[in-house]
């Protein structure tokens, strides 16, 4: 499942996509993210039949991604995003 967390507002699209078929719930993204965007849960609230842990975007962060991710997204010389780099299975992507 492609889980798109985030929003679109007047200023643009801000979505973090987690491919739950690739995510193994290892929690590397949780460890590297300076803004505590991710959490790993045992039961996927969007897919009750799934067995095994999965990463999701924390509820209180979902409406603020544009702001919360800013430190990782400087306007110049943008380095690779820590969460995307840390995810060995390539489950995480950003829309902006």
């Amino acid at each position: 499942m492609l889980a798109n967390y985030g929003y679109k507002d007047g200023s643009g699209d801000y979505f973090i996509t987690i491919n739950t078929d690739l995510c193994n719930g290892c929690g590397e993204c949780v460890a590297v993210c300076p803004a505590n965007i991710f959490i790993v849960v045992d039961e996927d609230p969007n897919d009750p039949m799934r067995d095994g842990p999965v990463a999701i975007v924390a509820e209180e962060k979902k409406k603020k991604l544009k702001y919360e991710c800013n430190p990782c997204k400087p306007t110049q010389n943008r380095p690779p995003l820590p969460c995307v780099e840390a995810c060995k299975t390539g489950a995480i992507s950003h829309s902006w």
């Binding site: 499942m1 897919d47 009750p48 979902k62």
Partner: protein, 299 residues
Amino acid sequence: MQIEMREEKKQEFWRWKESNWKNPDIEWRSGKFITLGIDVGSVSSQAVVMVDGQIFAYSNMRTGSDSPHSARKALDFVLEATDMPEDRVDYCVGTGYGRVNVPMADRTITEIACHARGANFIYGPEVRTVLDVGGQDIKAIQCDEKGRVTNFLMNDKCAAGTGRGMEVFADLLGIAIDEVGERSFQVKEEPPPVSSTCVVYAKSEALGLLRKGWSREKVLAAYCRAMAERIYSLVERLGVKPQLAVTGGLAKNSGVIERLMFMIGLKPMNSKWDAQIAGAIGAALFGYALCQKGKGRKK
């Protein structure tokens, strides 16, 4: 120039009656698993009782100011339609915006999963896309033939494209919300959409248009069009696969829905069931599936 504003009684985005119903052909006493789905939304709450995966009874009510109370009321109301005692329920799943506050729930599941599962049940396995536009959010879901979510997004940050955004406009123009559809088609030709996405800026844009001499209907048409485009841009992120089911309050606003369907190029599906109960149906079905898998309530 003065802009005349009619005092209009505040109305909700869509109107409906509170109701409950029971299927006379189902005998709960012979059921193996009886499951309950409770969907507490921001506007309405539903409870569905299923006997072995078939709809036995449901209720549909307005959500009050606190979620636990609304969940209780919906449950009492559905039980009222039956002669079944509450403790006969094997498993209860809570869903919806107020799901964390459903006290009797054994488990909570997001409305995304429940809507997809419910749509699969009420519209059939051909449903691939579910679009739900509510008072405060937009959900676009893709699912497979079993009703399992394959791709979803939910936008509850921004009022643009939601029922709330439409309310702001209906208020501004002094047009009753249930007349929006009809009035928006009372224009000689379709005006270009309002260009600002943001409801706040669209409002100032609309005031400018009124000052320029546009009729209220024309401004309304321009906003309905903008709203349709907004919703379309969100569904487009996922891609629209046929068949398409449209649920939520928007389904009742022809001003937006007809413009949207024209853009998508599909017709929404119909069903004998009220689409409002899709979430609660999905919740009850998940309860049933969990019981079958032996993951039911630990007695």
